[in-house]
């Protein structure tokens, strides 16, 4: 039997084993497991979806948020795409070897420009891989904590091996004169020249060895691909293609499984969510920006995804209610994912924003919260807040009549939107109406509105908590109750636009409240309103404040709803200059109050997110004011300024205070 025949047989056997294993694993993971999941509604919107593939997969856009690692991955990705053709080439050569040991594959082996690109990409990939290995082995950043670094290192070594063996193979073939497009491979030529001094027979041995190493590593890589984090190589494209195109601030409806709400078992997630769990590459970018993780709590979005993925795979293997050795299976909620992790999330969306593959981390957490709420497993403080919300419509436990007490001394009396027609219905939210910390700011807001003769009114006692954070806490029933109340109040009142000073309220009114009479609700955040009034000339200023300020993007205004510029224009219109904090716009760092966290006990934290943010702000030279546009931010940051002892360094001001001062 000739060497060529042996080669063909071995390649064939390798292919069968590899694709067999690969196929079997794919079947298990994607077909069997995903079918255990609940159905998922994916919106059509094909144009946006194809665009996503181009921008985010081909363009690797989100990866560049981290410039150098992003560049490295760009080359590894494109290198993989382009050089996979060389693997195909090698396989075909192998299969044809029994007939022609020196078979040149058409196009793949003859098209010069392709070979040139491949040659250069091989080098780029090698550099990228070496850099990546350096990061994992020596730099060892925080974001890899908990990730399977060994898998990463192993695969990088595989890729390195594949690249090097390819170049050696190509280089020696060029030496031996069997490459028709040798002129198109300068790199391979250079590599080949290192072996030029050896005898032809030695070179052939090295070349064939390289070939076998090349193929073997490829086969091993392929079979191991579905296991562990490199599965993202397969799932990333469908994951991005099928990403959620609903407004970010719109939570999906509460799933019901056999009449039960919330997720307590992995099968209660949708197959689309399960795809997300598979797609996590363990890169840790989400972990790095998570305020819960940074404050010392045990929640890491990355680890959460990994745990859910592992649970999905483990429970897939089990058929009985007990595992192999008779120990009872651990509960998903409480054991695998602890309650501390589930409640630690502030729903700030930084993780979802950062993830290059659009994995949704917040929604699975809220799904589990819904289950805990039904089971009554909430801490005392949260229980108090929810009981107060159900009973009084506010989380403070104050009588509903107390909601409008702040208006008592205001002249002229603010219009009652339930009785009079108004253009703008001002929905204040709990904090602006009931918190003593905010009363001054609410007063100033009124004065500004009166100054521009805005036609506005409020719902007085009719207003109840908008329910945004109630929903994020998992109490869907209470949310529905609050929505019913507020919608019936809206229907009583004749208004054109709803304005609010609270981004959380803004988010849910805009994205989650059902429309009345089929018409979408017109909702404005007051920063947008002020921006409009300034542009139209209705709001003018008599002085320039000349403060040097920094602006904090509220999570529900910025990341969730994309409003970054309106508040900044307003600040600049008052004559202030803005110095941005390092973490600004969609990288803004959450104050820690969201997701209902302001209603829960803090837990064992090492540094409050709000304190970290203030420390970030005081580093900015010359900045005297920390400007916010959310009442909870005012509360959290004013506290943080005190607890970090920065009273003499920076003052927390609401946007309206600047506007008021400049009138």
């Amino acid at each position: 039997m000739s060497y060529g025949t042996i080669k063909t047989i071995l390649v064939l056997i390798g292919l069968i084993i590899t694709f067999g294993l690969f196929g079997w694993r794919m079947y298990q993971l994607l077909w069997i497991n995903l079918r255990r999941g609940q159905p998922s509604q994916i919106t059509r919107n094909w144009r946006e979806r194809f665009k996503s593939i181009i921008v985010y997969v081909a363009g690797q856009k989100r990866l560049f948020r981290f410039l150098i690692p992003g560049t490295a991955h760009f080359f590894i990705f494109w290198g993989f795409v382009l050089l996979s053709l060389t693997i195909l080439q090698a396989i075909i050569e192998g299969l044809a070897a029994f007939a022609d040991p020196h078979f040149i594959v058409p196009v793949l082996g003859t098209f010069g420009p392709l070979a040139l690109v491949q040659d250069f990409f091989a080098v780029f990939v090698i550099f990228a891989v070496v850099y990546a290995l350096y990061v994992r082995i020596f730099a060892n950043p925080e974001r890899y904590k908990g990730s399977h670094k060994e898998q990463g290192v192993l695969v990088l070594i595989f890729i390195l091996t594949i690249m090097v063996s390819l170049l050696i193979m190509n280089g020696i073939r060029i030496n031996l004169g069997v490459d028709p497009i040798a002129n198109w491979r300068p790199i391979s030529t250079a590599v080949g020249s290192m072996f030029a001094g050896l005898s032809a027979s030695t070179q052939i041995i090295i070349e064939e060895t390289s070939y076998w190493i090349h193929l073997l590593v490829v086969f091993i890589f392929l079979t191991e691909l579905p296991i562990g984090k490199h599965f993202h190589v397969i799932t990333s494209v469908p994951a991005v293609f099928l990403r959620n195109l609903d407004p970010k601030g719109k939570l999906p409806a509460a799933p019901e499984f056999n009449g039960e709400v919330g997720v307590s078992k992995i099968e209660q997630y949708t197959w689309r969510q399960m795809l997300d769990f598979y797609t996590c590459t363990e890169c840790g970018r989400c972990q790095d920006v998570c305020p819960a993780y940074s404050s010392g709590l045990t929640l890491s979005p990355k680890l959460l995804m990994m745990d859910l993925r592992d649970n999905l795979k483990e429970t897939g293997k089990l058929t009985a209610s007990k595992s192999q050795d008779g120990t009872p299976i651990k509960e998903l909620v409480g054991d695998v994912i602890t309650e501390e992790v589930i409640w630690a999330c502030t729903s700030c969306y930084a993780c979802d924003q950062e993830c290059p593959l659009f994995i949704e981390h917040v929604t699975p957490i809220i799904d589990m919260r819904r289950y805990l709420v039904i089971e009554g497993r909430v801490d005392d403080e949260l229980q108090d807040a929810l009981t107060n919300l159900a009973r009084y419509g506010n989380s403070f436990g104050k009588s509903a009549r107390a909601r409008a007490r702040w208006t008592r001394n205001i002249e002229p009396k603010i219009k009652d939107a339930r009785k009079e027609k108004v253009k703008y219905l001002w929905f204040l939210g709990d904090y602006a109406s009931l918190s003593p910390t905010l009363s001054d700011i609410t007063q100033k807001t009124v004065e500004v509105f009166q100054n521009v003769e805005l036609d506005f009114g409020i719902l007085y006692e009719g207003e109840q908590n908008s329910g945004n954070d109630v929903r994020r806490v998992g109490e869907e029933g209470l949310f529905e109750m609050l929505v019913e109340n507020n919608i019936s109040e809206f229907n009583k009142s004749k208004h054109e636009v709803i304005i609010t000073t609270d981004p959380h309220t803004y988010n849910t009114l805009l994205n989650e409240y059902p429309s009345t009479n089929g018409k979408n609700r017109s909702v404005l955040h007051y920063s947008e309103l002020l921006d409009q009034l300034i542009t139209s000339g209705q709001l003018t200023f008599s002085k320039k404040l000349n403060f040097n300020v920094t602006y904090h993007d509220p999570c529900y205004l910025g990341r969730y709803n994309g409003i970054y510029n309106a508040p900044r224009r307003v600040i600049e219109a008052t004559g202030c200059t803005i110095t941005e904090m390092p973490r600004n716009h969609d990288k803004a760092y959450c104050c820690g109050a969201g997701g209902g966290r302001i209603w829960m006990s803090e837990g064992e934290i090492t540094e409050r997110p709000s304190e970290s943010r203030i420390e970030e702000a005081v580093q900015l030279i010359g900045v005297t004011d920390f400007v916010v546009a959310c009442p909870k931010d005012v509360t959290m940051y004013r506290d943080a300024v005190k607890t970090t002892g920065n009273e003499n360094n920076i003052v927390v001001k609401d946007l309206i205070e600047l506007v008021h001062a400049a009138l």
Binding site: V373, I374, G376, L386, A390, Y392, S399, R401, G477, E480
Partner: protein, 254 residues
């Protein structure tokens, strides 16, 4: 084992309370009612016993504004039967009347244990628990903050001031006035309550005439003068601290 829980609605002290025109009773129109906190604990205690021993829990509450919600919530918490007593409880009732109204129904249910809150904030003529106990002929112990059922007897922890606790034993059937359940009342999700509204059977039972006797003769109800309110110290924390130190010195404490 059969447990009956009596739950009452009382004035919500978060809201304003007004006196009626006659000046001798509360203005029911203004009043917002809330579940008596101690009755809430009594219900929780009953559910805890149910979870431990598989007892059957019936909850009874008189017809007042908000009673349906209370009963459905009780059902969502685990109550097996929920009963609303129909009668003019808004205007013509007091603890004696309620206790009498409850006595026939309760004894018909033949409970081994009757639980209710030890007191309520509007108890002017006594408390429903001990009154009902007497009408039923059951022994009564109140201010109980721990309750276990063992061998047909109840093992009670009775609270005294200063943290002193007496362990007592009461033979069943008995009526216990609950100060606190062994663990605080659990949270019931609104969706569960709404579910109960659809599936639970809220029974209604008419009571014969209410007799609001047994209490004092009220001549006048009024709100105490808030004239002797505290002397408020104005200013921020710095200014308040300074004034306080002056006061402490005047007192001779510093």
């Amino acid at each position: 084992m059969n447990i009956v829980v009596i739950v009452k609605l009382v004035p919500d002290l978060v809201e304003e309370i007004e006196i009626s025109e006659s000046g001798t009773s509360l203005d029911m129109e203004w009043l917002r009612l809330i579940i008596n906190e101690f009755d809430d604990h009594a219900l929780e205690q009953a559910i805890l016993i149910k979870e431990e021993t598989g007892a059957n829990v019936t909850v009874i509450s008189p017809e007042l504004e908000g009673v349906d919600d209370i009963l459905y919530t009780a059902s969502a918490r685990g109550a097996d039967r929920i009963i609303k007593l129909l009668g003019d409880f808004e205007n013509n009732s007091n603890c004696h009347a309620l206790a009498k109204a409850l006595s026939t129904l309760t004894s018909d249910l033949q409970p081994d244990l009757v639980l209710t809150g030890v007191q309520a904030n509007d108890d002017l003529d006594g408390s429903v628990g001990p009154l009902l106990a007497e009408y039923l002929g059951y022994p009564y112990v109140g201010y109980v903050a721990g309750l276990k059922i063992e061998n047909g007897k109840s093992r009670i922890k009775k609270e005294y001031p200063g943290g002193l606790v007496a362990e007592m034993e009461a033979s069943l059937p008995a009526l216990i006035g609950i100060q606190a359940a062994e663990s605080p009342p659990r949270y019931v999700a609104i969706s569960k309550v709404r579910q109960a509204m659809k599936t639970a059977d809220l029974e209604e039972i008419e009571v014969s005439e209410l007799q609001a006797s047994g209490g004092p003769i009220v001549e006048r109800m009024y709100q105490p003068e808030t004239g002797d309110r505290a002397t408020m110290i104005d200013g921020d924390e710095e200014e308040v601290a300074a004034r306080l130190i002056e006061i402490f010195k005047e007192l001779g404490v510093l």
